[in-house]
Point group: C2
Chain length 440, copies 2
């Protein structure tokens, strides 16, 4: 696999570039905007994720000889366009919502200011990363809020593409999960990793006891033993006998969880293993996590539902040209006008109105250059929190958003933003966005 | 990004390895099996995809210094296990369904024969690739059958992770799509690429006519012009005026497609552009494609629904230890016995019974070493088609399954297999698997 991200691109971006270079319009300064027309079905808010990955991927968006040779052989664009691509380095400016920020329908999540040529060829890369990572984070955030402080681990790598799995682990971490099973996410993004054993480890051994002894020998009594390969009650008994009452945790991966968890807790307590925790992992999603809120569960492991966005595997964001300069160098707002896919043209500045109780009330999108003069509402103790940061200036990414540190910062930003959402945002049932989006 | 696939792995695989190396069970010869307990909701059949990618990824499953240094720093396993990983090369044998093959609940899709140590650490990689690629192929195959021979192009890259997008394009191609928008899929897997222009290209220009002229200048009159940026009727008129009646195609991306397509066809014909084709692309899925079967559409472009498995983004396959040798070197069939997740232990050999009308009737899974003696049913003119090929022997992949050639072969195999499925398999509505799975 090449390290260049340049061909992670829809062909039409290069054919548009090709045509626009020939008539000179490619060099018109432009504003592109990524936004979502609506939230995933019934959600009250979305969580922006992927921003840090995107900035790094733009840095690797280079047409090396390998890419150029293939484009030449496939006859995708003219030779003069290949020359232009050989020199391509994104030199524009990108403003956008911080990673971890909540978003709503119409929130101007990413604004790319560059020539048409420079901006148009990033369309697929921007949308792929934001749509997939934000879908995961938006689902994961609901699981975090319904878990009421109990830790969640992401373990859905096997349910999604092998590289998407790494991004999934990262997005779930930003949304408040505490750990992942995915080792590459640990290495690349600093996400804490976890995991001890599967059923195959028990089946490998002649007896469950042999397996537990081997695991405790290697990982210590503080490990988590998987107790449901054969019979849960016998499994728990064997686990405590082998590891002692200092056993870290037992994991349950099947059965009617509320009843199984209750009886396992009773059994552990009666065996004196009062500090041994119970982890459950069995096709959980936000609804099943909620249904376990009254059970003595200590931690959740979530796989399929978080990796697939719990019914909404993509966030549905689009990337549109919203303004460009004409031959007279004046800005022209542009928007598609056909039927159901109406967009709002022009450069947008977004703020979130926070009332005197520190609760978000409106997503305000200013058209044009943003709020003029005194911030509105200053007199009634509400304030307008600016939502857009400069992610990249003149082609240089702000390092605060990159790598493991940027990932951790996004996780912290998400936690702060969640504090500010109105309580309606955390209802699990389907409904409207928690706050309205207002254009001014 | 590293080219090693070794950390695309759940941590528990390495902790199991660690414990099993310490007590020697790691070296027990084992059989692991990947299979699906059920098809995605309501589907009649699934399509296996990802096999070729998997074989290549196993070849890149190497713990180089970069991986080992991180594992050491993160204290994942003991030093002796790191030494074992440093030398790791998968040396086992893998049998499995050919890529492009149809599958049903319980079909033994991949069987890995290796030591426990060698086989267990491939679990996540195998499942990530097969689950995601097969989900796409299974959805795409339904779109292909309902399109009744009209060509389909995959254009969902922006709706999934940027690397998953490449795999999506490949899986859809195997399932019968004719092309993709994704350039990397063209380069890596030989999938034909397509695409001309987006709405942004029209909006960049001062008029739609300017945009069309620029595109025809660069790409020729045989190009596809996108006619719905402003007003479809005016767009079609302008398109034919600019490109002439030799215009290749118009693309429509919005509106009530049956009515819009009918009026555009009439308009094109009345303008003399009788050979100009109509491509539609507007959140299509298998049901909307079916609803257009009576409309004069020439080609479909499908994005979100194919990239997200049309409601089933993961195939739900699992990877289980089904047999291993004991200390006496005898094979022992093993299976988890708890509650709802019962598995069938033992090595399995699968055939599909094809009747005298060349129609598939049963998925027969032989337990143990497979059918004995004379193939059953030889006297009634039915036959049993073996479903498992040797994908990798002693760590060496069969080159017939790799690269662009393997991808093309998988596409051809899928086409042949589809001919053999009973007609019930192609019903769009929810229902049971088209043929039963029988254990013998």
């Amino acid at each position: 696999m090449t390290s260049s991200s340049a061909l992670l691109t829809d062909r039409y971006e290069l054919t548009m570039l090709d045509a626009a270079l020939r008539n000179g319009t490619a060099h018109r300064e432009s504003m592109f905007e990524a936004f979502a027309r609506r939230l995933p079905a019934g959600r009250r808010y979305g969580v922006v994720a992927g921003t840090g990955r995107l900035l790094e991927a733009i840095g690797r968006f280079r047409f090396t000889d390998a890419e150029l040779d293939w484009l030449r052989a496939a006859d995708v664009v003219h030779a003069s366009t290949l020359d232009w691509l050989a020199d391509y380095r994104f030199g524009g400016t990108i403003w956008g919502y911080r990673e971890g920020e909540a978003y709503f329908p119409g929130s101007p999540l990413v604004i790319v200011n560059a020539t048409f040529a420079e901006g148009v060829i990033l369309e697929t890369l921007i949308l792929s990363i934001l749509n997939s990572d934000s879908a995961v984070a938006s689902a994961a955030a609901r699981m975090v809020s319904v878990a009421l402080g109990r830790p969640l681990a992401e373990m859905g790598s096997r349910r999604t593409n092998e590289y998407a799995a790494v991004a999934t682990a990262r997005a779930a971490y930003i949304a408040g999960f505490g750990a992942t099973s995915n080792l590459e996410a640990g290495r690349t993004w600093g996400v804490p990793t976890m995991g001890t054993a599967a059923h195959s480890f028990t089946l490998l051994h002649d007896t469950e006891e042999d397996a537990f002894r081997a695991q405790v020998e290697a990982l210590g009594a503080g490990t988590t033993l998987l107790v449901d390969t054969y019979d849960v009650e016998k499994g728990v008994e064997t686990a405590v006998r082998v590891a002692g009452t200092g056993l870290g945790a037992v994991r349950i991966d099947s059965g009617d969880l509320p009843s199984v968890v209750a009886s396992v807790r009773d059994q552990l307590d009666s065996l004196g293993a009062v500090n041994t925790k119970i982890t459950v992992t069995s096709d959980l999603d936000e609804y099943l996590i909620g249904a376990l809120s009254g059970s003595p569960v200590d931690a959740y492991g979530v796989g399929t539902s978080v990796a697939t966005g719990s019914g909404s595997p993509t966030a549905g964001m689009v990337y549109k040209l919203v303004a460009r300069r004409g031959d007279d160098h004046e800005w022209v707002s542009v928007a598609k006008s056909s039927v159901e896919k109406v967009s709002v043209g022009g450069r947008k500045t977004a703020v979130r109105r926070i009332d005197s109780t520190r609760t978000a009330r409106e997503e305000i999108v200013y058209l044009g250059d943003g709020p003029d003069g005194e911030p509105e509402g200053a007199q009634d103790e509400s304030r307008e929190r600016p939502l857009q940061a400069t992610l990249m200036r003149d082609g240089v990414a702000d390092p605060a958003f990159l790598g493991a540190a940027g990932t951790k910062a996004a996780r912290e930003h998400r936690a702060a933003v969640m504090q500010e959402l109105p309580i309606e945002a955390f209802r699990l049932g389907a409904g409207e966005a928690a706050i309205p989006t207002v254009y001014r």
